[in-house]
């Protein structure tokens, strides 16, 4: 799925370079991200102080690998246990089907208003736009998402959706859209949003949430949050619909504590979030609150394709902590919107090509300096740099062709150039005469070589080849020894 919902500020991965250029020229964006990411990096570091981090990461990676190794069985077990608990389970092959399922659940209740907890999968499937087309209003309840929605934007970070906005900008948005006072008082703004959203929680017909971990063993949906909006969303409206990617399943309840420890610390440097909400059934006989119906929508949307390939599969281990983006020198400078995708930063650069195809996202795997920071901080040890290289190869038609749009960047000119180079490099006599001619004609080398020279000096062949230099050096050494 590509593009953004109508009415929302438009960014597209096709325009990555232009958007990056714009972002780099926007001091506000750069300052907002720089400040936020610096803080998050140091908080993450401190939060693991008391831990044997490597052992914990190893455990996290193994838990995720084990779940993936048994994925089809676990999904069936999850479904059976959820159903036994009274949760209705639905399967969707793509975002469109998932949207239709959610809409139909809403329509079956005559719902006009939906309140939403944070869910990246619902962003990925553009659920809000879909519901709105059907005349159902979907309102985000996470404060960051709410602000971004009021501002007709999409989130710029998977954990902190409004990280690109500073206090003054947020004050202006709230003033413009909801009539609050212009202020820099964060408590005042928070209290205003609390008031506005409490009414909406009470009025909502359906609550939609994401899922952080779905436990096959018990049919439990786990939700991690600080604000309480997730608890409100999943408790106050009479119907709760949880939407999740099929890869979020874990085998047992005991798998959850290590992943939760890794998630909160990696994401925001918190040792724990305010709420950890585990839902295993709708309201039972005799209980006085909670939704009377709970639905779980399992969304594939390209994930089962990633699953086919031993190397690419690692992408599915992700627990969506956002640490890779917080530590990425590219993300930190250009911000999340530049990527034009639901998932920005390093994880987005390896996930989006699968979800949207390389035709749309061919530049994303190159949005990295391959410095390795993302792989180093990833709590479940996803080798992100290796995957970026693999996708770069896929994009020029050198991988296994397992990614939609593989080969999109392959150009005849480049292929011919490399073939020519290969031939030259394997024919010593031609290579030698060729390099010596190039050296003599060095004055004619063009000063510009396309975009490559936008930020670099064009290379010039050396006047004397290395080969000739070595030869000269050796002969002068022999000469000296003879003397």
């Amino acid at each position: 799925m590509s593009g953004q919902p109508p009415g929302v500020e438009t960014y597209t991965p096709r325009e990555f370079h232009r958007q990056a250029h714009d972002a780099l020229g926007n001091p506000q964006i750069r300052a907002n991200f720089r400040k936020a990411m610096d803080g998050l990096m140091s908080k993450r570091r401190d939060s693991f102080d008391d831990w044997d981090l490597e052992t914990l990461r190893e455990l996290g990676a193994n838990i995720r690998l084990r779940a993936l190794a048994r994925l089809p069985d676990l999904l069936e077990q999850l479904e059976a246990n959820c159903e036994a608990n009274g949760i209705r389970v639905h399967w969707a092959e793509d975002g469109e089907e998932a949207c239709r399922i959610v809409r139909e659940i809403c329509e079956s209740h005559g719902a006009r208003s939906v309140i939403k907890g944070k869910s990246m999968v619902s962003e990925e499937m553009h659920l809000n736009a879909h519901l709105e087309e059907a005349g159902i209003e979907a309102l985000e309840s996470d404060l960051g998402e709410y602000l971004v929605q009021l501002n007709q934007q999409t989130p710029s970070h998977i954990i902190m959706p409004a990280i690109h906005l500073n206090t003054d900008e947020i004050s202006e948005i709230l003033h413009d859209k909801t009539g609050t006072e212009r202020t820099r008082d964060v408590d005042y703004m928070t209290a205003a949003a609390r008031q506005q959203l409490r009414e909406r929680f009470m009025a909502a017909d359906v609550g939609v949430s994401g899922v952080n971990f779905a436990v096959a063993e018990t049919g439990t949906l786990c939700l991690v949050e600080n604000e309480g909006n997730g608890r409100m969303t999943t408790t106050v409206p009479p119907v709760h619909v949880a939407v999740t990617g099929i890869e979020k399943v874990v085998e047992q309840l005991r798998d959850v504590p290590p992943l939760y420890a890794l998630l909160t610390r990696s994401a925001t440097g918190q040792h724990v979030t305010t709420y950890f909400n585990m839902i295993s059934s709708p309201r039972k006989e005799g209980e006085h609150d909670g939704p009377k119906e709970v639905h779980l929508v399992l969304v594939d949307n390209g994930r089962s394709n990633i699953y086919q390939d031993d190397e690419l599969l690692d992408t599915l281990r992700c627990i969506r902590c956002g640490a890779c983006m917080n530590h990425c020198p590219v993300y930190t400078r250009v911000g999340g919107h530049t990527y034009g995708t639901t998932y920005p930063g390093p994880i987005g650069s390896i996930l989006s090509p699968h979800l949207m195809g390389l035709e749309e996202t061919k530049d994303l795997p190159t949005a990295s300096s391959l410095c390795g920071a993302c792989g180093e901080v990833c709590p479940v040890k996803i080798p992100i740099p290796d995957l970026l290289v693999r996708l770069r190869k896929e994009s020029v038609g050198e991988g296994r062709g397992n990614v939609p749009g593989a080969g999109i960047k392959r150009t005849r000119k480049e292929v011919a150039a490399w073939k020519g180079f290969q031939w030259l490099a394997t024919h010593p006599a031609v290579w030698r005469s060729g390099t010596s001619v190039a050296g003599k004609l060095r004055a004619l080398t063009p000063a510009r070589l396309g975009p490559w020279t936008d930020y670099r000096t064009a290379p010039k062949p050396a006047g004397t080849t290395l080969h000739a230099l070595v030869k000269r050096h050796q002969s002068s050494k022999t000469h000296q020894e003879e003397r």
């Binding site: 404060l143 959850v256 925001t268």
Partner: protein, 226 residues
């Protein structure tokens, strides 16, 4: 073929063949070996670091502490259960105090607006706590429904000192959670908060602004933690 069958088929017939599941060693999330005092101290350190308040009391006098908290915070309407010993004791102790006790044994549909707008505090028991993260664990019941720890601006939680355990893993294992999960199991670690406005922490965004934990000790509370 249904979406379900297509997805499962694709996963089962994986192009690169079956995967091997690695072993998982959970030692890193258990065996902290903390004493009871250390546990309590850690619990208190963490929960107060995120704005939670802790009051230590002798088990026999905990309702006095509760009355004190209500008076300090100016609470006039308190929502609480009727059957749990915590609720029973609180009700009898507060009978003569000028605080309206709001029953929660009715379906939320009948009193949603009242709960959202008029209740000033919710009192709940807890099943235990986690030292490593300063978290309370609650399994809401018909007597103490889910929303009373969420909707009122003040949540007062009653915790027995000897129910603090080391880690979440230990709690899940020791209490065999996997054997039967409730409708909703909760960890609560402080009052509701957000950092969504330029990373500035603000409390009480959707849930309670304040969380007070009354820790009941069998006998005099230890001096160090009092």
């Amino acid at each position: 073929m249904s979406a379900r069958d297509t997805i499962l088929k694709r996963l089962r017939e994986r192009a690169d063949g079956p995967l091997t599941a690695p072993e998982c060693d959970f030692a890193v999330v258990t065996n902290r070996g903390w004493s009871q005092e250390e546990r309590l101290a850690r619990f208190e350190r963490w929960i107060t670091s995120v704005h939670g308040e802790v009051v230590h009391v002798d088990q026999a006098r905990w309702t006095e502490a509760l009355a004190g908290v209500l008076a300090d915070k100016g609470v006039r309407r308190l929502a609480l259960g009727k059957q749990h010993p915590v609720a029973v004791e609180a009700r009898s102790a507060l009978a003569d105090v000028d605080v309206e006790l709001v029953g929660v044994d009715r379906d939320i549909e009948q009193w949603q607006r009242e709960q959202f707008e008029r209740v000033e505090a919710g009192l709940t028991s807890t099943r235990g706590a986690i030292a490593e993260t300063g978290s309370l664990w609650l399994w809401p019941t018909p007597d103490e429904p889910r929303l009373i720890s969420l909707v009122p601006p003040l949540h007062i939680a009653v915790l027995d000192a000897d129910t603090v355990e080391d880690t979440l893993f230990d709690v899940v294992e020791a209490h065999a959670w996997a054997g039967g999960m409730p409708t909703n199991a909760l960890l609560i670690s402080g009052p509701s908060k957000t950092a969504n406005i330029e990373q500035t922490l603000a409390y009480g965004v959707h849930g309670p602004r304040e969380l007070v934990v009354i820790v009941r000790h069998a006998g005099e509370p230890p001096k160090a933690t009092r």
